[in-house]
């Protein structure tokens, strides 16, 4: 059986043996950003694991303390409440964000896994099969899906399923739906790279040496087309939290016909409520986006005032720092992959 040529990313052609992972790692370290991102992700992971233990009795409901609910004055950051208190919920914000960490990490991991898995596979198949039937079908379906704005698509699908299930259809379905919504963008970028890779000499050589199309796809096209995915994944985190935060914000704060929006300190307060078609199972569910949406609504209730800044700044930081950590890790992996430092 003839020996297949080695693609450039996996060693020099004609080299006696391909360098191992450890050797390549030592030769092309991924840079400081990668380690900073990894350290941040490790902190998030530790927080998630510890939250599973600390909040094991009631992991999906924020404990409400009526002593923090208005008309009492909102409590800002202090030693007792490092991130302050979210008065409408009546919860310590640090505790709420901590409790939300395992849910959000699982949510993002699930969505990105579906997004990257489908996007890579279908994009690589389309690029390898350029001009063929499979390419036509995948491109057509992907392009057609991509014209519907993600947040409307989520609402539509959830509305339909809620009608059938007669109740909340929950976070697992949200993960699947969002993953299915995000894959076309990933597939499109992977397809472009796969098209270019498919015409590289090492692929032609592999074809000439008798390798099957499936083997060429999995061994040569797919590994060499992953670069765009690493650039795309951090960006794909943004719409997830946008959808989770925007509707609670709008519904609690702006919506005509939504719950009454009353300013803080005026003797009344916002009662957390979920908009229709929400993927969250209850109005007291710990989730970063939901806390951000509600915190923005509640914290910016006084015109021209930033007195209640902690209510949206800390949920925002939880999301942004997490996104930047994923971005740094992905950038580091991409640099390591192509050796561009």
């Amino acid at each position: 059986m003839s020996r297949e040529p080695t693609p450039p990313d996996q060693g020099e052609p004609g080299a006696p043996s391909r360098p191992g992972l450890r050797e390549r790692w030592g030769r092309r370290p991924p840079g400081v950003g990668f380690w900073v991102g990894s350290a941040l992700l490790a902190v998030y992971l530790a927080a998630a694991l510890s939250a599973l233990f600390v909040f094991r009795t009631s992991p999906s409901a924020l404990p409400r303390n009526l002593a923090w609910v208005p008309p009492y004055a909102p409590l800002g950051p202090s030693l007792n409440h490092p991130f302050g208190v979210l008065p409408g919920f009546g919860v310590d914000l640090f505790q709420a964000l901590w409790q939300a960490t395992p849910w959000d990490l699982a949510l993002v991991a699930g969505i990105l896994a579906i997004d990257a898995g489908m996007g890579c596979l279908l994009g690589a198949v389309a690029g390898f099969n350029e001009g063929g039937l499979l390419d036509g079908i995948i491109t057509f379906v992907g392009d057609s899906f991509a014209v519907i704005p993600a947040f409307l698509f989520v609402v539509i699908v959830f509305a339909g399923l809620t009608a059938v299930a007669a109740g909340s259809v929950g976070l697992p379905l949200f993960v699947v739906v969002f993953g299915l919504i995000l894959w076309p963008t990933t597939a499109r970028t992977v397809r472009e790279r796969a098209r270019a890779v498919a015409h590289q000499p090492f692929v032609e050589a592999a074809r000439a040496s008798g390798a099957s199309p499936g083997r060429i796809l999995l061994r040569h096209i797919l590994p060499n087309s992953l670069g765009p995915v690493l650039a795309q994944l951090p960006i794909d985190i943004a719409p997830i939290f946008f959808v989770l935060a925007a509707f609670p914000w709008y519904y609690n704060c702006q919506a005509p016909g939504g719950p009454p929006a009353s300013p803080l300190g005026g003797g009344s307060y916002l009662v957390p409520s979920l908009p229709p078609f929400s993927p969250l199972p209850s109005a007291s569910f710990p989730e970063w986006g939901y806390l951000l949406g509600f915190g923005t609504c509640e914290g910016v209730s006084q015109p021209g005032s930033f007195d209640y800044w902690w209510m949206y700044v800390f949920p925002l930081l939880a999301i942004v720092v997490f996104g930047i950590a994923v971005g740094l890790v992905c950038d580091g992996l991409e640099r390591w992959r192509v050796g561009d430092r």
């Binding site: 609402v155 339909g160 943004a238 946008f242 509707f247 709008y250 702006q254 942004v320």
Partner: protein, 362 residues
């Protein structure tokens, strides 16, 4: 000049050169595929909205019934038979409601898109071209930050920080939408007759143009200020989305043969960037511009909701969705799909028409 001898021996006719045939063939194929894509989108909507509702009412139909229902919904969508709106203060056909709401959003987009393009184009080119981490790394970090910050939060904070102080000059508090607030008008004797209920203006529907047409200079100044501030918020978020795609395009352009060749001949980096790379990257930039329009729409919708643009399409969309009414979503998504697909088609053809590689091939 052609001599007689040459005239007697005509050139071989093996490869007649038809300069635009490839482009025309591509354009025809793209135009033909558009209705098919639109039908597919409608099918997805039908399956997601109508089919579950029949199950919810315990009245699942036969295959033929669903097919007939889908055909009817397609006919309704294309003929504008979208039903009656019962939302906000309207009890009108949806077509009329949408006609009221679209101009305000178009006014915002006409300001936001050029601002976004003016920022995104040079920033992406420079960041993609430069290999110096001192420039590229902060640019990447900032754009990632821009993408991760939900635009409604940025919008709300800008509204709170800038509007309430800056627009105090116009005595326009609280600040809402693209025209002055109701209190501003009430302090001056009430709304003029050319502003209808829910801040819809007449005769064109574009607040700025209508204010100018009615010589309402102060209203026009406030409308322009508000539009510019909202457009800047939209641009901040959209530049972040655009940048990630555009940067990688410039990266790959910088390694192209003609660039490497020109560099080896001693052409200055600035010339290489602005005369060569910028030109060859322009079609790809246009395509990114087209493909990210759905994301742009999401950004603009959220900003319109944050700034309470009562006559804006985004405000209407959020209002519909949070009221839990599904009926208006189908025509809404149909309109958006039509808009996005048409826009993508135009930009796609334009990109192909100005692509230097295509031009050289003709």
């Amino acid at each position: 000049m052609i001599t007689a001898g040459e005239r007697q021996s005509p050139a071989p006719r093996s490869s007649p050169r038809r300069p635009w045939s490839g482009f025309v063939r591509y354009a025809v194929r793209r135009v033909l595929i558009l209705p098919a894509q639109l039908l597919f989108v409608l099918l997805v909507l039908y399956v997601a909205i109508e089919v579950p509702s029949t199950f919810a009412h315990n009245a699942p139909e036969s295959g033929a019934g669903y097919l007939l229902g889908f055909a009817q919904s397609v006919v309704n969508d294309f003929t504008g038979n979208w039903g009656q709106a019962d939302i906000l203060s309207f009890h009108l056909p949806w077509t009329v409601v949408y006609a009221y709401y679209i101009p305000t959003s178009v006014q915002l987009a006409l300001f936001a898109l050029p601002i976004a393009a003016a920022i995104a184009y040079p920033v992406s080119l420079l960041a993609g071209w430069s290999r110096r981490p001192a420039y590229d790394a902060p640019a990447r970090l900032l754009t990632l930050l821009g993408a991760l910050l939900p635009v409604f939060v940025v919008g709300t904070l800008v509204l709170n920080a800038v509007f309430f102080s800056y627009l105090g000059w116009f005595q326009d508090l609280p600040s809402q939408g693209l025209i002055p607030s109701s209190s501003w008008f009430l302090d001056r004797g009430g709304y003029p007759s050319w502003i209808l209920y829910d801040a819809v203006t007449r005769p064109t529907g574009f607040p700025l143009i209508d204010a100018l047409l009615h010589h309402a200079w102060q209203v026009a100044a406030i409308s322009l200020t508000k539009t510019l501030i909202q457009a800047s918020v939209v641009a901040i978020a959209y530049v972040a989305i655009f940048f990630r795609h555009a940067r990688s395009i410039v990266r790959s352009e910088s390694g192209q043969g003609h660039i490497v060749g020109a560099r080896s001949r001693g052409v200055a980096e600035r010339t290489l960037l602005w005369r060569h790379a910028a030109r060859t990257a322009a079609p790809s930039f246009l395509l990114v511009f087209a493909l990210t329009i759905p994301e742009y729409l999401v950004v603009q919708f959220a900003v319109e909701a944050a700034f309470v643009d009562q006559a804006g399409f985004g405000y209407l969309t959020f209002a519909e969705v949070t009221q839990g009414s599904l009926a208006p979503l189908e025509p809404l998504v149909f309109l958006l799909a039509l808009l996005v697909l048409s826009w993508t088609l135009v930009v796609d053809l334009l990109a192909r028409a100005i692509d230097p590689r295509e031009l050289n091939a003709r």
